[in-house]
Symmetry: C2
Subunit: 300 residues, 2 copies
Protein backbone atom coordinates (compact mmCIF):
# COMPACT_ATOMS: atom_id res chain seq x y z
CA UNK A 1 0.00 0.00 0.00
CA UNK A 2 1.07 3.56 -0.57
CA UNK A 3 0.30 6.90 1.02
CA UNK A 4 2.22 9.62 2.80
CA UNK A 5 1.28 8.96 6.45
CA UNK A 6 0.87 5.26 5.78
CA UNK A 7 4.38 4.89 4.34
CA UNK A 8 5.85 6.56 7.40
CA UNK A 9 3.80 4.37 9.72
CA UNK A 10 4.72 1.14 7.97
CA UNK A 11 8.39 2.16 8.16
CA UNK A 12 8.25 2.93 11.86
CA UNK A 13 5.81 0.46 13.37
CA UNK A 14 8.18 -2.50 12.98
CA UNK A 15 10.25 -1.11 15.87
CA UNK A 16 7.26 -1.17 18.16
CA UNK A 17 6.18 -4.62 17.03
CA UNK A 18 9.54 -6.38 16.98
CA UNK A 19 11.35 -4.14 19.49
CA UNK A 20 10.66 -6.29 22.57
CA UNK A 21 12.12 -9.35 20.83
CA UNK A 22 15.22 -7.52 19.56
CA UNK A 23 15.72 -5.80 22.93
CA UNK A 24 15.37 -8.96 24.99
CA UNK A 25 17.72 -10.84 22.65
CA UNK A 26 20.30 -8.12 23.30
CA UNK A 27 19.86 -8.47 27.06
CA UNK A 28 17.57 -5.48 27.68
CA UNK A 29 15.66 -5.32 30.99
CA UNK A 30 12.82 -3.50 29.23
CA UNK A 31 12.11 -1.90 25.89
CA UNK A 32 10.76 1.59 25.30
CA UNK A 33 9.88 2.72 21.79
CA UNK A 34 9.25 6.19 20.51
CA UNK A 35 5.55 6.53 19.70
CA UNK A 36 4.81 5.77 16.07
CA UNK A 37 2.65 8.64 14.88
CA UNK A 38 2.94 12.13 13.51
CA UNK A 39 1.40 14.29 16.24
CA UNK A 40 3.52 16.43 18.54
CA UNK A 41 0.98 16.59 21.35
CA UNK A 42 2.73 14.31 23.81
CA UNK A 43 0.45 11.41 23.05
CA UNK A 44 1.64 7.90 23.70
CA UNK A 45 0.71 5.83 20.66
CA UNK A 46 0.60 2.12 21.26
CA UNK A 47 -0.47 -1.09 19.56
CA UNK A 48 0.44 -4.67 18.90
CA UNK A 49 3.73 -5.70 20.53
CA UNK A 50 5.31 -9.01 19.71
CA UNK A 51 7.20 -11.60 21.70
CA UNK A 52 8.94 -14.69 20.38
CA UNK A 53 8.58 -18.09 22.07
CA UNK A 54 12.35 -18.58 22.39
CA UNK A 55 13.14 -15.09 23.72
CA UNK A 56 12.49 -13.88 27.27
CA UNK A 57 9.48 -11.58 27.57
CA UNK A 58 10.55 -8.15 28.84
CA UNK A 59 8.36 -5.19 29.75
CA UNK A 60 7.72 -2.97 26.73
CA UNK A 61 6.04 0.39 26.32
CA UNK A 62 5.73 3.35 24.00
CA UNK A 63 6.81 6.80 25.15
CA UNK A 64 5.69 10.02 23.54
CA UNK A 65 7.89 11.61 20.88
CA UNK A 66 8.66 14.44 23.31
CA UNK A 67 9.77 12.11 26.07
CA UNK A 68 11.77 10.04 23.58
CA UNK A 69 13.61 13.23 22.61
CA UNK A 70 14.36 13.91 26.26
CA UNK A 71 15.63 10.37 26.83
CA UNK A 72 17.85 10.65 23.77
CA UNK A 73 19.31 13.93 24.99
CA UNK A 74 19.89 12.56 28.48
CA UNK A 75 21.42 9.34 27.15
CA UNK A 76 23.84 11.34 25.02
CA UNK A 77 25.13 12.91 28.25
CA UNK A 78 25.69 9.69 30.17
CA UNK A 79 23.92 6.66 31.67
CA UNK A 80 20.21 7.19 32.33
CA UNK A 81 18.29 5.37 35.06
CA UNK A 82 14.55 4.94 34.72
CA UNK A 83 11.87 3.54 36.96
CA UNK A 84 9.03 2.11 34.93
CA UNK A 85 5.50 1.72 36.26
CA UNK A 86 3.58 -0.15 33.58
CA UNK A 87 -0.01 -0.98 34.44
CA UNK A 88 -1.36 -2.85 31.37
CA UNK A 89 -2.38 -6.46 31.82
CA UNK A 90 -2.96 -9.20 29.32
CA UNK A 91 -6.17 -10.83 30.48
CA UNK A 92 -7.25 -14.35 29.55
CA UNK A 93 -9.03 -14.70 26.23
CA UNK A 94 -12.77 -14.21 26.37
CA UNK A 95 -15.46 -15.40 23.97
CA UNK A 96 -16.37 -12.79 21.39
CA UNK A 97 -17.85 -12.76 17.91
CA UNK A 98 -17.57 -11.41 14.42
CA UNK A 99 -20.86 -9.70 13.55
CA UNK A 100 -22.08 -10.94 10.17
CA UNK A 101 -25.18 -10.04 8.19
CA UNK A 102 -26.03 -11.39 4.74
CA UNK A 103 -28.15 -9.50 2.26
CA UNK A 104 -28.99 -12.37 -0.05
CA UNK A 105 -28.44 -11.89 -3.76
CA UNK A 106 -31.36 -12.25 -6.17
CA UNK A 107 -29.70 -14.64 -8.64
CA UNK A 108 -26.58 -16.06 -7.02
CA UNK A 109 -27.17 -15.97 -3.28
CA UNK A 110 -24.32 -18.47 -2.81
CA UNK A 111 -21.82 -15.97 -4.30
CA UNK A 112 -20.61 -13.54 -1.66
CA UNK A 113 -19.14 -10.02 -1.66
CA UNK A 114 -17.73 -8.97 1.72
CA UNK A 115 -18.00 -5.35 2.91
CA UNK A 116 -16.19 -4.93 6.21
CA UNK A 117 -14.45 -3.03 8.98
CA UNK A 118 -13.34 -4.16 12.42
CA UNK A 119 -15.34 -3.94 15.60
CA UNK A 120 -12.64 -3.73 18.24
CA UNK A 121 -10.30 -0.82 18.77
CA UNK A 122 -7.07 -0.13 20.61
CA UNK A 123 -7.83 0.74 24.19
CA UNK A 124 -6.70 4.35 24.55
CA UNK A 125 -9.29 6.03 22.35
CA UNK A 126 -12.87 5.21 21.48
CA UNK A 127 -11.98 3.85 18.06
CA UNK A 128 -14.01 6.31 16.00
CA UNK A 129 -11.60 6.30 13.06
CA UNK A 130 -10.01 2.92 13.90
CA UNK A 131 -12.29 1.42 12.98
CA UNK A 132 -15.81 2.65 13.75
CA UNK A 133 -15.70 4.44 10.41
CA UNK A 134 -14.96 1.22 8.54
CA UNK A 135 -17.87 -0.59 10.19
CA UNK A 136 -20.22 2.30 9.44
CA UNK A 137 -19.35 2.68 5.75
CA UNK A 138 -19.75 -1.09 5.33
CA UNK A 139 -23.25 -0.99 6.81
CA UNK A 140 -23.93 2.08 4.72
CA UNK A 141 -23.15 0.19 1.49
CA UNK A 142 -26.14 -2.10 2.00
CA UNK A 143 -28.29 0.73 3.36
CA UNK A 144 -27.63 2.96 0.36
CA UNK A 145 -28.23 0.23 -2.22
CA UNK A 146 -31.52 -0.63 -0.51
CA UNK A 147 -32.49 3.02 -0.43
CA UNK A 148 -31.78 3.27 -4.16
CA UNK A 149 -33.96 0.21 -4.83
CA UNK A 150 -30.99 -1.74 -6.17
CA UNK A 151 -30.91 -5.40 -5.17
CA UNK A 152 -27.77 -7.05 -6.59
CA UNK A 153 -27.56 -10.54 -8.05
CA UNK A 154 -24.99 -11.71 -5.51
CA UNK A 155 -25.06 -11.70 -1.71
CA UNK A 156 -23.52 -8.69 0.03
CA UNK A 157 -22.10 -9.83 3.36
CA UNK A 158 -21.47 -7.22 6.01
CA UNK A 159 -18.77 -8.25 8.47
CA UNK A 160 -17.67 -6.36 11.57
CA UNK A 161 -14.49 -8.28 12.36
CA UNK A 162 -13.70 -8.97 16.02
CA UNK A 163 -10.21 -8.80 17.51
CA UNK A 164 -8.32 -7.25 14.62
CA UNK A 165 -6.05 -5.41 17.05
CA UNK A 166 -5.00 -8.61 18.81
CA UNK A 167 -3.86 -10.17 15.54
CA UNK A 168 -6.97 -10.61 13.39
CA UNK A 169 -8.31 -13.50 15.41
CA UNK A 170 -11.86 -12.97 14.18
CA UNK A 171 -10.63 -13.16 10.61
CA UNK A 172 -8.73 -16.37 11.41
CA UNK A 173 -11.93 -17.90 12.82
CA UNK A 174 -13.81 -16.86 9.68
CA UNK A 175 -11.21 -18.51 7.48
CA UNK A 176 -11.52 -21.71 9.53
CA UNK A 177 -15.31 -21.64 9.11
CA UNK A 178 -15.05 -20.96 5.37
CA UNK A 179 -12.26 -23.33 4.39
CA UNK A 180 -14.57 -25.02 1.95
CA UNK A 181 -16.18 -22.02 0.27
CA UNK A 182 -13.42 -19.49 -0.43
CA UNK A 183 -14.25 -20.00 -4.12
CA UNK A 184 -17.74 -18.55 -3.66
CA UNK A 185 -16.24 -15.31 -2.31
CA UNK A 186 -16.34 -13.04 -5.36
CA UNK A 187 -14.65 -10.12 -3.66
CA UNK A 188 -13.82 -8.64 -0.25
CA UNK A 189 -13.51 -5.02 0.81
CA UNK A 190 -12.20 -3.70 4.11
CA UNK A 191 -12.02 -0.10 5.23
CA UNK A 192 -9.43 0.23 8.01
CA UNK A 193 -7.48 3.39 7.24
CA UNK A 194 -9.73 5.94 8.86
CA UNK A 195 -12.44 8.28 7.74
CA UNK A 196 -10.53 10.84 5.71
CA UNK A 197 -11.10 11.78 2.08
CA UNK A 198 -10.80 8.74 -0.25
CA UNK A 199 -8.72 9.17 -3.38
CA UNK A 200 -9.33 5.77 -4.95
CA UNK A 201 -9.20 2.03 -4.48
CA UNK A 202 -6.43 -0.34 -3.45
CA UNK A 203 -6.83 -3.68 -5.16
CA UNK A 204 -5.09 -6.97 -4.76
CA UNK A 205 -5.39 -9.64 -7.42
CA UNK A 206 -4.34 -10.27 -10.97
CA UNK A 207 -3.57 -7.54 -13.49
CA UNK A 208 -6.95 -7.81 -15.25
CA UNK A 209 -8.56 -6.61 -12.03
CA UNK A 210 -7.23 -3.11 -12.69
CA UNK A 211 -8.90 -3.12 -16.13
CA UNK A 212 -12.11 -4.41 -14.64
CA UNK A 213 -12.12 -1.57 -12.06
CA UNK A 214 -11.89 1.24 -14.62
CA UNK A 215 -15.65 1.89 -14.96
CA UNK A 216 -15.89 1.87 -11.14
CA UNK A 217 -13.14 4.50 -10.93
CA UNK A 218 -14.97 6.56 -13.53
CA UNK A 219 -18.12 6.57 -11.41
CA UNK A 220 -16.06 7.73 -8.39
CA UNK A 221 -14.25 10.46 -10.32
CA UNK A 222 -16.69 13.24 -9.28
CA UNK A 223 -15.71 12.81 -5.62
CA UNK A 224 -11.99 12.57 -6.41
CA UNK A 225 -11.73 8.85 -5.67
CA UNK A 226 -10.72 7.68 -9.13
CA UNK A 227 -7.18 6.35 -8.59
CA UNK A 228 -6.57 2.60 -8.82
CA UNK A 229 -3.62 1.35 -6.81
CA UNK A 230 -2.38 -2.22 -7.02
CA UNK A 231 -1.22 -3.40 -3.58
CA UNK A 232 -0.11 -6.72 -2.07
CA UNK A 233 -2.31 -6.12 1.00
CA UNK A 234 -5.73 -4.54 1.28
CA UNK A 235 -6.59 -5.11 4.95
CA UNK A 236 -5.57 -7.23 7.94
CA UNK A 237 -8.91 -9.02 8.17
CA UNK A 238 -9.27 -9.87 4.50
CA UNK A 239 -5.64 -10.99 4.07
CA UNK A 240 -6.73 -14.64 4.41
CA UNK A 241 -9.25 -14.23 1.60
CA UNK A 242 -6.64 -12.41 -0.50
CA UNK A 243 -4.28 -15.37 -0.01
CA UNK A 244 -7.00 -17.71 -1.26
CA UNK A 245 -7.14 -15.69 -4.47
CA UNK A 246 -10.25 -13.68 -3.66
CA UNK A 247 -10.01 -10.23 -5.30
CA UNK A 248 -9.74 -7.79 -2.42
CA UNK A 249 -10.05 -4.06 -2.03
CA UNK A 250 -9.80 -1.08 0.29
CA UNK A 251 -10.52 2.60 -0.08
CA UNK A 252 -7.29 4.59 -0.54
CA UNK A 253 -7.55 7.38 2.01
CA UNK A 254 -5.73 10.61 2.70
CA UNK A 255 -3.44 9.33 5.44
CA UNK A 256 -1.81 12.61 6.44
CA UNK A 257 -3.70 12.82 9.74
CA UNK A 258 -4.87 9.27 10.48
CA UNK A 259 -1.67 8.23 12.25
CA UNK A 260 -1.77 11.34 14.42
CA UNK A 261 -4.87 9.95 16.06
CA UNK A 262 -5.23 6.19 15.68
CA UNK A 263 -4.26 4.13 18.76
CA UNK A 264 -4.24 7.28 20.88
CA UNK A 265 -6.73 8.76 23.33
CA UNK A 266 -7.61 11.32 20.65
CA UNK A 267 -9.30 8.78 18.32
CA UNK A 268 -12.74 10.18 19.09
CA UNK A 269 -15.98 10.86 17.23
CA UNK A 270 -15.16 14.49 16.44
CA UNK A 271 -12.32 13.32 14.18
CA UNK A 272 -14.89 12.02 11.68
CA UNK A 273 -15.83 14.55 9.01
CA UNK A 274 -19.35 13.58 7.80
CA UNK A 275 -18.56 14.62 4.21
CA UNK A 276 -15.45 12.44 4.09
CA UNK A 277 -17.32 9.58 5.74
CA UNK A 278 -20.00 9.83 3.05
CA UNK A 279 -17.32 9.78 0.36
CA UNK A 280 -15.94 6.56 1.83
CA UNK A 281 -19.43 5.10 1.94
CA UNK A 282 -19.73 5.99 -1.75
CA UNK A 283 -16.52 4.11 -2.57
CA UNK A 284 -17.67 1.08 -0.59
CA UNK A 285 -21.16 1.15 -2.12
CA UNK A 286 -20.18 1.61 -5.77
CA UNK A 287 -17.49 -1.07 -5.51
CA UNK A 288 -19.76 -3.51 -3.67
CA UNK A 289 -22.46 -2.98 -6.29
CA UNK A 290 -20.02 -3.58 -9.16
CA UNK A 291 -18.77 -6.78 -7.53
CA UNK A 292 -22.22 -8.04 -6.58
CA UNK A 293 -24.09 -7.22 -9.77
CA UNK A 294 -21.61 -7.56 -12.65
CA UNK A 295 -22.58 -10.00 -15.41
CA UNK A 296 -19.43 -12.02 -14.77
CA UNK A 297 -17.58 -12.13 -11.44
CA UNK A 298 -14.49 -9.89 -11.19
CA UNK A 299 -11.38 -11.61 -12.62
CA UNK A 300 -9.53 -13.84 -10.16
CA UNK B 1 -3.77 42.78 22.31
CA UNK B 2 -4.64 41.31 18.98
CA UNK B 3 -3.82 38.11 17.15
CA UNK B 4 -5.71 35.15 15.80
CA UNK B 5 -5.09 32.51 18.47
CA UNK B 6 -4.78 35.14 21.16
CA UNK B 7 -8.17 36.68 20.38
CA UNK B 8 -9.82 33.29 20.60
CA UNK B 9 -8.05 32.53 23.88
CA UNK B 10 -8.96 35.84 25.47
CA UNK B 11 -12.58 35.28 24.42
CA UNK B 12 -12.71 31.78 25.89
CA UNK B 13 -10.49 31.84 28.97
CA UNK B 14 -12.93 33.96 30.98
CA UNK B 15 -15.18 30.90 31.31
CA UNK B 16 -12.37 28.93 32.92
CA UNK B 17 -11.36 31.77 35.20
CA UNK B 18 -14.77 32.96 36.32
CA UNK B 19 -16.68 29.71 35.76
CA UNK B 20 -16.35 28.40 39.32
CA UNK B 21 -17.78 31.62 40.72
CA UNK B 22 -20.68 31.76 38.27
CA UNK B 23 -21.38 28.04 38.72
CA UNK B 24 -21.34 28.13 42.51
CA UNK B 25 -23.56 31.23 42.54
CA UNK B 26 -26.06 29.27 40.46
CA UNK B 27 -25.94 26.36 42.92
CA UNK B 28 -23.61 24.04 41.01
CA UNK B 29 -21.97 21.15 42.89
CA UNK B 30 -18.93 21.44 40.66
CA UNK B 31 -17.88 23.21 37.49
CA UNK B 32 -16.34 21.65 34.41
CA UNK B 33 -15.13 23.84 31.58
CA UNK B 34 -14.24 22.90 28.05
CA UNK B 35 -10.47 23.20 27.61
CA UNK B 36 -9.48 26.58 26.24
CA UNK B 37 -7.12 25.81 23.39
CA UNK B 38 -7.14 24.97 19.72
CA UNK B 39 -5.76 21.44 19.61
CA UNK B 40 -7.96 18.40 19.00
CA UNK B 41 -5.65 15.92 20.66
CA UNK B 42 -7.69 15.28 23.79
CA UNK B 43 -5.47 17.47 25.93
CA UNK B 44 -6.84 19.00 29.09
CA UNK B 45 -5.77 22.63 29.12
CA UNK B 46 -5.85 24.25 32.52
CA UNK B 47 -4.77 27.43 34.26
CA UNK B 48 -5.80 30.05 36.76
CA UNK B 49 -9.24 29.45 38.24
CA UNK B 50 -10.88 32.08 40.35
CA UNK B 51 -13.04 32.02 43.45
CA UNK B 52 -14.80 34.94 45.10
CA UNK B 53 -14.74 35.47 48.86
CA UNK B 54 -18.53 35.64 49.13
CA UNK B 55 -19.25 32.60 46.97
CA UNK B 56 -18.85 28.98 48.04
CA UNK B 57 -15.78 27.27 46.58
CA UNK B 58 -16.82 24.32 44.42
CA UNK B 59 -14.59 21.79 42.68
CA UNK B 60 -13.62 22.96 39.21
CA UNK B 61 -11.79 21.29 36.36
CA UNK B 62 -11.15 21.50 32.65
CA UNK B 63 -12.18 18.63 30.39
CA UNK B 64 -10.79 18.06 26.93
CA UNK B 65 -12.69 19.44 23.95
CA UNK B 66 -13.53 15.86 22.94
CA UNK B 67 -14.97 14.97 26.32
CA UNK B 68 -16.85 18.29 26.44
CA UNK B 69 -18.47 17.33 23.13
CA UNK B 70 -19.48 13.99 24.57
CA UNK B 71 -20.95 15.60 27.70
CA UNK B 72 -22.88 18.05 25.55
CA UNK B 73 -24.31 15.24 23.44
CA UNK B 74 -25.25 13.17 26.49
CA UNK B 75 -26.79 16.17 28.26
CA UNK B 76 -28.93 16.88 25.20
CA UNK B 77 -30.41 13.39 25.63
CA UNK B 78 -31.26 13.70 29.35
CA UNK B 79 -29.75 14.11 32.80
CA UNK B 80 -26.09 13.10 33.05
CA UNK B 81 -24.46 11.81 36.23
CA UNK B 82 -20.73 12.16 36.69
CA UNK B 83 -18.30 11.02 39.33
CA UNK B 84 -15.36 13.39 39.58
CA UNK B 85 -11.99 12.38 40.94
CA UNK B 86 -9.92 15.55 41.11
CA UNK B 87 -6.45 15.18 42.58
CA UNK B 88 -4.95 18.71 42.48
CA UNK B 89 -4.08 20.37 45.77
CA UNK B 90 -3.41 23.97 46.63
CA UNK B 91 -0.37 23.81 48.88
CA UNK B 92 0.64 26.56 51.33
CA UNK B 93 2.67 29.39 49.86
CA UNK B 94 6.42 28.83 49.85
CA UNK B 95 9.22 31.35 49.66
CA UNK B 96 10.44 31.96 46.11
CA UNK B 97 12.18 34.74 44.24
CA UNK B 98 12.23 36.83 41.13
CA UNK B 99 15.64 36.46 39.50
CA UNK B 100 17.05 39.88 38.69
CA UNK B 101 20.35 40.87 37.08
CA UNK B 102 21.40 44.41 36.29
CA UNK B 103 23.81 45.29 33.53
CA UNK B 104 24.70 48.80 34.64
CA UNK B 105 24.45 51.58 32.09
CA UNK B 106 27.55 53.64 31.25
CA UNK B 107 25.99 57.08 31.69
CA UNK B 108 22.68 56.69 33.54
CA UNK B 109 22.99 53.54 35.63
CA UNK B 110 20.00 54.71 37.70
CA UNK B 111 17.74 54.60 34.63
CA UNK B 112 16.42 51.10 34.02
CA UNK B 113 15.10 49.16 31.02
CA UNK B 114 13.48 45.84 31.96
CA UNK B 115 13.80 42.79 29.69
CA UNK B 116 11.75 39.91 31.08
CA UNK B 117 9.90 36.65 30.95
CA UNK B 118 8.46 34.50 33.74
CA UNK B 119 10.23 31.70 35.52
CA UNK B 120 7.34 29.53 36.64
CA UNK B 121 5.07 27.51 34.38
CA UNK B 122 1.73 25.75 34.61
CA UNK B 123 2.25 22.28 35.97
CA UNK B 124 1.24 19.98 33.12
CA UNK B 125 4.06 20.72 30.69
CA UNK B 126 7.66 21.74 31.16
CA UNK B 127 6.98 25.38 30.26
CA UNK B 128 9.28 25.57 27.26
CA UNK B 129 7.12 28.08 25.40
CA UNK B 130 5.32 29.40 28.53
CA UNK B 131 7.61 30.90 29.41
CA UNK B 132 11.11 29.43 29.11
CA UNK B 133 11.31 31.15 25.74
CA UNK B 134 10.59 34.57 27.27
CA UNK B 135 13.30 34.12 29.90
CA UNK B 136 15.81 33.00 27.29
CA UNK B 137 15.24 35.83 24.81
CA UNK B 138 15.51 38.32 27.70
CA UNK B 139 18.90 36.92 28.74
CA UNK B 140 19.85 36.85 25.08
CA UNK B 141 19.25 40.62 24.75
CA UNK B 142 22.12 41.37 27.15
CA UNK B 143 24.26 38.55 25.77
CA UNK B 144 23.91 39.78 22.17
CA UNK B 145 24.62 43.43 23.00
CA UNK B 146 27.72 42.38 24.93
CA UNK B 147 28.82 40.19 22.05
CA UNK B 148 28.41 43.13 19.69
CA UNK B 149 30.52 45.32 21.95
CA UNK B 150 27.58 47.66 22.59
CA UNK B 151 27.27 48.92 26.15
CA UNK B 152 24.21 51.16 26.47
CA UNK B 153 23.96 54.36 28.50
CA UNK B 154 21.16 53.04 30.69
CA UNK B 155 20.93 49.92 32.83
CA UNK B 156 19.39 46.84 31.22
CA UNK B 157 17.66 44.84 33.93
CA UNK B 158 16.94 41.20 33.26
CA UNK B 159 14.01 39.86 35.27
CA UNK B 160 12.76 36.29 35.41
CA UNK B 161 9.46 36.85 37.18
CA UNK B 162 8.35 34.30 39.74
CA UNK B 163 4.78 33.10 40.20
CA UNK B 164 3.18 34.67 37.14
CA UNK B 165 0.81 31.73 36.83
CA UNK B 166 -0.50 32.15 40.37
CA UNK B 167 -1.48 35.76 39.69
CA UNK B 168 1.79 37.65 39.07
CA UNK B 169 2.85 37.58 42.70
CA UNK B 170 6.51 38.15 41.84
CA UNK B 171 5.54 41.24 39.88
CA UNK B 172 3.47 42.50 42.83
CA UNK B 173 6.48 42.09 45.13
CA UNK B 174 8.64 43.95 42.64
CA UNK B 175 6.17 46.84 42.55
CA UNK B 176 6.19 46.96 46.38
CA UNK B 177 9.99 47.11 46.36
CA UNK B 178 10.04 49.79 43.67
CA UNK B 179 7.24 52.06 44.86
CA UNK B 180 9.69 54.94 45.04
CA UNK B 181 11.52 54.54 41.76
CA UNK B 182 8.93 53.77 39.07
CA UNK B 183 10.01 57.04 37.45
CA UNK B 184 13.52 55.72 36.79
CA UNK B 185 12.05 52.81 34.79
CA UNK B 186 12.48 54.01 31.21
CA UNK B 187 10.79 51.03 29.61
CA UNK B 188 9.75 47.44 30.29
CA UNK B 189 9.51 44.53 27.89
CA UNK B 190 8.00 41.11 28.57
CA UNK B 191 7.87 38.13 26.24
CA UNK B 192 5.08 35.78 27.34
CA UNK B 193 3.34 34.69 24.17
CA UNK B 194 5.54 31.80 23.17
CA UNK B 195 8.43 31.27 20.81
CA UNK B 196 6.81 31.58 17.43
CA UNK B 197 7.68 34.00 14.64
CA UNK B 198 7.43 37.64 15.79
CA UNK B 199 5.62 40.07 13.50
CA UNK B 200 6.25 43.25 15.46
CA UNK B 201 5.91 45.01 18.77
CA UNK B 202 2.97 45.63 21.10
CA UNK B 203 3.38 48.92 22.89
CA UNK B 204 1.47 50.53 25.71
CA UNK B 205 1.88 54.24 26.41
CA UNK B 206 1.04 57.52 24.82
CA UNK B 207 0.61 58.10 21.09
CA UNK B 208 4.10 59.53 20.59
CA UNK B 209 5.50 56.15 21.56
CA UNK B 210 4.35 54.75 18.22
CA UNK B 211 6.27 57.48 16.39
CA UNK B 212 9.31 56.86 18.53
CA UNK B 213 9.23 53.15 17.66
CA UNK B 214 9.33 53.65 13.89
CA UNK B 215 13.12 53.40 13.48
CA UNK B 216 13.06 50.28 15.66
CA UNK B 217 10.41 48.73 13.41
CA UNK B 218 12.53 49.61 10.39
CA UNK B 219 15.49 47.73 11.83
CA UNK B 220 13.26 44.69 12.42
CA UNK B 221 11.72 44.77 8.96
CA UNK B 222 14.19 42.24 7.44
CA UNK B 223 12.90 39.52 9.82
CA UNK B 224 9.24 40.49 9.26
CA UNK B 225 8.78 41.99 12.71
CA UNK B 226 7.99 45.53 11.64
CA UNK B 227 4.38 46.00 12.75
CA UNK B 228 3.64 48.33 15.66
CA UNK B 229 0.50 47.53 17.61
CA UNK B 230 -0.87 49.79 20.32
CA UNK B 231 -2.33 47.70 23.14
CA UNK B 232 -3.68 48.38 26.64
CA UNK B 233 -1.70 45.43 28.05
CA UNK B 234 1.74 44.17 27.16
CA UNK B 235 2.29 41.45 29.76
CA UNK B 236 0.96 40.26 33.12
CA UNK B 237 4.17 40.94 34.98
CA UNK B 238 4.79 44.43 33.62
CA UNK B 239 1.18 45.57 34.01
CA UNK B 240 2.09 47.31 37.29
CA UNK B 241 4.82 49.30 35.58
CA UNK B 242 2.46 50.09 32.70
CA UNK B 243 -0.04 51.46 35.23
CA UNK B 244 2.66 53.71 36.65
CA UNK B 245 3.15 55.19 33.19
CA UNK B 246 6.26 53.24 32.21
CA UNK B 247 6.29 52.64 28.43
CA UNK B 248 5.90 48.89 28.05
CA UNK B 249 6.32 46.44 25.23
CA UNK B 250 6.02 42.84 24.08
CA UNK B 251 6.90 41.00 20.90
CA UNK B 252 3.79 40.38 18.76
CA UNK B 253 3.97 36.70 17.93
CA UNK B 254 2.25 34.36 15.54
CA UNK B 255 -0.30 32.94 17.96
CA UNK B 256 -1.88 30.31 15.73
CA UNK B 257 -0.24 27.41 17.55
CA UNK B 258 0.73 28.77 20.96
CA UNK B 259 -2.63 28.05 22.57
CA UNK B 260 -2.59 24.51 21.25
CA UNK B 261 0.33 23.81 23.58
CA UNK B 262 0.55 26.26 26.47
CA UNK B 263 -0.74 24.94 29.82
CA UNK B 264 -0.79 21.42 28.43
CA UNK B 265 1.55 18.47 28.82
CA UNK B 266 2.74 19.16 25.27
CA UNK B 267 4.50 22.44 26.16
CA UNK B 268 7.93 20.88 25.73
CA UNK B 269 11.33 21.87 24.37
CA UNK B 270 10.74 20.49 20.87
CA UNK B 271 8.04 23.14 20.33
CA UNK B 272 10.73 25.82 20.18
CA UNK B 273 11.98 26.54 16.67
CA UNK B 274 15.53 27.94 17.04
CA UNK B 275 15.05 30.31 14.11
CA UNK B 276 11.89 31.79 15.58
CA UNK B 277 13.50 31.99 18.99
CA UNK B 278 16.38 33.95 17.48
CA UNK B 279 13.92 36.29 15.78
CA UNK B 280 12.30 36.99 19.15
CA UNK B 281 15.71 37.58 20.67
CA UNK B 282 16.35 40.08 17.89
CA UNK B 283 13.13 41.97 18.72
CA UNK B 284 14.00 42.03 22.41
CA UNK B 285 17.60 43.09 21.76
CA UNK B 286 16.90 45.85 19.23
CA UNK B 287 14.11 47.28 21.37
CA UNK B 288 16.14 47.07 24.59
CA UNK B 289 19.06 48.80 22.88
CA UNK B 290 16.81 51.59 21.56
CA UNK B 291 15.30 52.15 25.02
CA UNK B 292 18.62 51.94 26.86
CA UNK B 293 20.76 54.01 24.53
CA UNK B 294 18.50 56.68 22.96
CA UNK B 295 19.59 60.28 23.47
CA UNK B 296 16.32 61.03 25.27
CA UNK B 297 14.21 58.44 27.11
CA UNK B 298 11.22 57.08 25.16
CA UNK B 299 8.16 59.34 25.53
CA UNK B 300 6.01 58.69 28.60
Amino acid sequence: MQGNGLDAYVGGVVYRGAGPIAGAAAGAAAVLVRSVGGADYRLPHTGLTQYAPDVQKVPAAAVTAEDANLLKDLASQGPVKMRLVLTPQTLPDALSYNVIADWKGTEHPEQVVVVSGHLDSWDLGTGAIDDGAGVVVSMQAIHLLKGLGIHPKRTVRFIAWMSEEEGSEGAAAYMMDHKADAATHIGAIESDLGADHPTGIYYSGKGELGQWLRPVAQVLDPIGAESLVSAPDTGEDIAGLTEKGVPSFAPVQDSRFYFNYHHTAADTFDKVDPMHLNENAAVMTVLAYALADSAEPAPR
